[in-house]
């Protein structure tokens, strides 16, 4: 068994506070959407807005961190091992085949993760962020004469929310597919990831 320090303190802080905020926003957001009643529309809407600002602030820090540390390179998509990863999730994982990806500090996400996170960062987040701000500043935007339709803004924001929910479900499941059921989770808590022995036959 080998251990590798993979998530730095800020990264872990960013991840978990973001997780908390996104769960909070999904819970309040779907209440605002009319899916159920939990806190009451008014409180849900206020909490949703406050959480949105907190998340935006967090994103500003995270973006700054990614660029100053060069960590943004972790999300550059690659086709290397992509098919192998897919094959692993679809069959190898059930036959206890070795994990086709060996992570290092420089490459801490497998090619599928890279694609998924890049998609979150370049598609889902901007969609939610922009449609959310348009939702929040709908009156001001229209006062400036842009003729925005609140229904369209809401639909875009809802699509973003569903995409985020889908990502969230898959993400929560896929963290159980590490070396052990909990090794990914431990890594995100402690920073240290357990990985398979190189001798076990992992391709690098």
């Amino acid at each position: 068994m080998e251990r590798i320090y993979i998530f730095k303190r800020f990264e872990r802080f960013w991840h978990w506070s973001q997780a908390l905020l996104i769960i909070l926003m999904m819970v309040t957001g779907f209440e605002i959407h009319g899916t159920y009643t939990l806190l009451g529309y008014g409180d849900a809407s206020e909490l949703h807005t406050s959480a949105a600002w907190a998340l935006i602030a967090l994103w500003v820090f995270a973006i700054f961190w990614h660029f100053t540390t060069g960590e943004w390179r972790q999300y550059i998509p690659t086709t290397e091992n992509l098919v192998a990863m897919l094959r692993y999730y679809l069959s190898g994982i059930f036959t206890h085949a070795p994990h086709p990806f060996r992570l290092t500090q420089l490459r801490k996400h497998n090619p599928l993760q890279r694609l998924a996170y890049l998609n979150v960062k370049l598609m889902i987040n901007p969609l939610i962020w922009l449609s959310g701000l348009a939702y929040l500043y709908y009156n001001e935007i229209n006062a400036a004469g842009l003729g925005l339709d609140l229904g369209v803004v809401a639909v875009l924001h809802t699509i973003g929310a569903f995409l985020m929910l889908g990502f969230f479900i898959v993400h929560v499941y896929v963290i159980t597919t590490g070396h052990t059921w909990s090794s990914h989770l431990k890594a995100m808590i402690t920073g240290w990831e357990e990985i398979e022995d190189p001798q076990a036959g992992a391709k690098s």
Partner: protein
């Protein structure tokens, strides 16, 4: 600690004093409050008023000695003419001309209806609208609460003790004109309320947001008129100049886009709208307040701030069915039926009523345009409900807001041959008045003759609806309508179209695919994980 004990000991005294003060205020009402806002003139000291008056017009002549222009000013108002030409629709409106689904119409019933006219003697078309002494100053400027005009006296108060209604054994005392004249003052909730609280033939009948409970309301009932708080009179908002009272039901301002009006600015008018004082961003502060301000281009202030109407303990009529009028009691005489609260729900003279208290209004887009169904306009019984007034407005005309409405339903007589509404002669001590003779044909024939309109002789009943935009009984902000009451499916604004309301509206396909995707992801994860568990080593 010591102060606390002193306070505790002092409290019974304070409570007693407060109770006494409140009781005093309650008993004295308007006059006590008026006295605190001292006038520069004590009318008891005017020689002109130190005499006995034989009639109302005699009092008016005395008033006009000093207030030389007052009667001319009143002559120019709707309060005097009961006429209004709507410049937008060219419809001739005003009480004289409109037909409603309460007491229906005025023309053949003047001596009764004009007990709410600001004049003396309007009993028929011969009334002299140019006579200055015919203006009734006292009905608006009385502060004693003892001035009353009685139905049937054509706008005069009783000059002798008068049995009302005749044969009832109940007497209305003669008005002491000298006392009333010497105690005149500003108009008040009481004076305006003398007529406006009792529109439609009784307390609270017509409006729903105006009844006698507003004479001395508490804060819960009306945050502005709160008798022990801000204590607004009607004139505080309906700020009157030259006797012309702003605020009109014929051409209301549905969407005031101006800021707060500040005295001294070029335009120091004060329309009777909320933004006239509160401006366009009435909720102060950031965040939540800012989000509330975002609503003001869609929702009228009244929609959230008047959660229910008829909140003061006085019921308002929600419907009136004239078609059941005329049933007699077992003794063959006109009868009243009452509900368990003792309120009249059937009157042989008028038919069946449905009453409502704490009524949640209906909501509609409204741009201030009101079109009436007038005498002579064709009506169609088969087309469902006939609208006494049709309100203009839509989500996208840029002039409308979502307004609360009292929607009043009537079943009233009409002429099925000529297909017009009719103007029955209801009140009167003669051979055709419905309330004396209980015969529709005679009553309508007389009424239509006076109106100068054709009548076929056939009588049927037609279902009508009248919308009353709601604007009084503004609740304290704590009691405003909660977000979720509209931001939900099946909420207050369920039927209001043309606007996306978060919580009410959603794109069904987006929702369907969204939940299918999320559900699919969850099922996929469970299946994948399940398979992994099954294939676990060992």
């Amino acid at each position: 600690m010591k102060t606390n004990r002193t306070n505790r000991r002092a409290r019974p005294w304070a409570a007693a004093l407060l109770a006494a003060a409140l009781a005093g205020a309650a008993f004295q009402g308007g006059p006590a409050l008026a006295a605190t806002k001292a006038s520069t003139a004590d009318h008891t000291k005017f020689k002109e008023l130190q005499q006995g008056f034989a009639s109302g017009p005699d009092v008016t002549k005395a008033c006009l000695i000093c207030h030389t222009e007052a009667a001319k000013q009143v002559h120019n108002t709707k309060h005097w003419s009961w006429e209004f030409l709507n410049p937008a629709t060219d419809q001739k409106l005003g009480k004289k001309n409109v037909i409603n689904n309460f007491c229906i119409s005025i023309p053949s019933n003047y001596p009764f209806c004009t007990s709410c006219h600001v004049g003396y003697g309007w009993k028929d078309a011969s009334f002299d609208f140019t006579a200055e002494q015919n203006v009734d100053c006292l009905v608006c400027h009385d502060t004693t609460g003892s001035y009353r005009k009685l139905p049937g006296l054509a706008g005069h108060p009783p000059y002798q003790d008068t049995e009302i209604p005749p044969g009832s054994g109940k007497f209305a005392k003669a008005v002491d004109l000298t006392k009333v004249a010497q105690k005149v003052g500003r108009s008040s909730r009481d004076t305006c309320g003398t007529c406006h609280f009792f529109g439609g033939g009784g307390d609270g009948v017509k409006h729903g947001d105006m009844d006698s409970s507003l004479a001395a309301p508490d804060k819960e009932l009306d945050v502005h008129m709160d008798a022990t708080g801000l204590d607004f009179s009607c004139g505080t908002c309906h700020r009157t100049s030259s006797h012309d009272v702003p605020g009109s039901r014929y051409t209301p301002v549905a969407r005031d886009t101006e800021g707060a009006h500040i005295p001294g600015r070029a335009d120091d008018s004060l329309p009777a709208t909320c933004p006239a004082c509160h401006g366009q961003a009435p909720h102060k502060g950031g965040g939540h307040a800012a989000k509330l301000n975002d609503h003001t281009d869609v929702v009228a202030c009244q929609t959230c701030h008047i959660p229910e109407i008829a909140r003061g303990g006085v019921a308002t009529k929600m419907s009136w069915d004239w078609s059941t009028a005329g049933q007699m009691g077992p003794d063959g005489k006109p009868m009243l039926k009452k509900d368990e609260a003792g309120r009249v729900i059937y009157d042989s003279k008028k038919g069946d009523f449905v009453l409502g208290e704490n009524v949640v209004p209906e909501y509609r887009w409204f741009n201030g345009e009101v079109t009436y169904t007038l005498l002579g306009d064709k009506v169609d019984k088969d087309s469902g409900v006939t609208r006494i007034n049709r309100l203009g407005g839509s989500a996208d005309d840029g002039k409308s807001l979502i307004w609360p409405m009292k929607v009043f339903v009537g079943v009233q007589p009409y002429d099925p041959v000529n297909r017009t509404l009719v103007t029955p002669h209801t009140a009167g001590n003669d051979d055709t008045a419905y309330w004396k003779n209980f015969g529709w044909e005679k009553a309508i024939k007389t009424g239509m003759q006076v109106s100068g309109a054709p009548f076929s002789g056939e009588v049927d009943f037609i279902r009508t609806e009248m919308s009353w935009p709601i604007t009084h009984m503004v609740a304290p902000k704590e009691n405003a309508v909660r977000c979720a009451e509209c931001h939900m499916r099946g909420g207050r604004l369920e039927k209001v179209g043309g606007v996306y309301i978060p919580g009410r509206d959603a794109h069904p396909l987006v929702d369907l695919f969204g939940w299918l995707m999320a559900g699919g992801a969850l099922l996929g994860a469970l299946a994948h994980g399940g398979l992994r568990i099954l294939r676990r080593k060992g």
